[in-house]
Symmetry: C2
Subunit: 126 residues, 2 copies
């Protein structure tokens, strides 16, 4: 079972995560296997907790997808040692840090289209 974690920064404002929860549901509807929203800071669950829970449920591998456009210090410096600590706790499990979603051409194209108010991809086939 391939577990997927959508990793966001986190905010003290609960409403901040509404679009992320929406996104998580959309991803879950498009794939088999569990999808969990987790955070780097300021909100729960932390990424470590989400990994532990997925592994306890039998997930292997676990892929952590940063819902960030760019990779800054959070993804380059903070996250890798935190994932290493998770790997030490779960030595038999493959835990992968995926590139941030902003490295996807499809994502950048869709964002550009939405910003200028063009029809979304759902309209392309109609």
């Amino acid at each position: 079972m391939h577990g997927l974690i959508l990793l966001a920064h986190g905010s003290r404002d609960p409403a901040w995560a509404d679009p992320l929860r929406d996104l998580t549901q959309r991803v879950a509807a498009r794939r088999d296997g569990p999808v969990v929203l987790a955070y780097l800071e300021l909100a729960e669950p932390a990424v470590e907790r989400a990994i532990d829970d997925l592994v306890a449920a039998g997930a292997d591998p676990v892929t952590v997808v940063p819902v960030f456009l760019g990779a800054g210090q959070h993804l380059k410096a903070d996250l890798p040692p935190r994932l290493d600590a998770c790997r030490s706790r779960h030595p038999g499990v493959t835990i992968v840090q995926a590139p941030p979603i902003g490295e996807s051409e499809a994502v950048l194209d869709a964002l550009a289209a939405a910003i200028v108010g063009e029809p979304g991809p759902g309209a392309a086939g109609t």
Copy 2:
């Protein structure tokens, strides 16, 4: 002339903004009028500077599009008074704070598709 500002958080890491610069170019290619990338903090230009420059170049209105998924304190509490100060400096110019891009269904759908590795919207018509 309608000026557009893509507003990101900002990071001390210059490479963090690479996908944002890419996005800015994609938006500029899809519309008439100037498109400027600006930041809330930690990087230049600040949103105030970008607004001043666009107004000096003759832009009216100026729309500020937050390249954020969720609206947290940055967009709810920090940005509005900063835009009010810009409006005071430019009393004849319409300056609009747009919703964050994460409120767009098309954006969330495209993100979900990219995360699960489906073909992007560019493939739909081929």
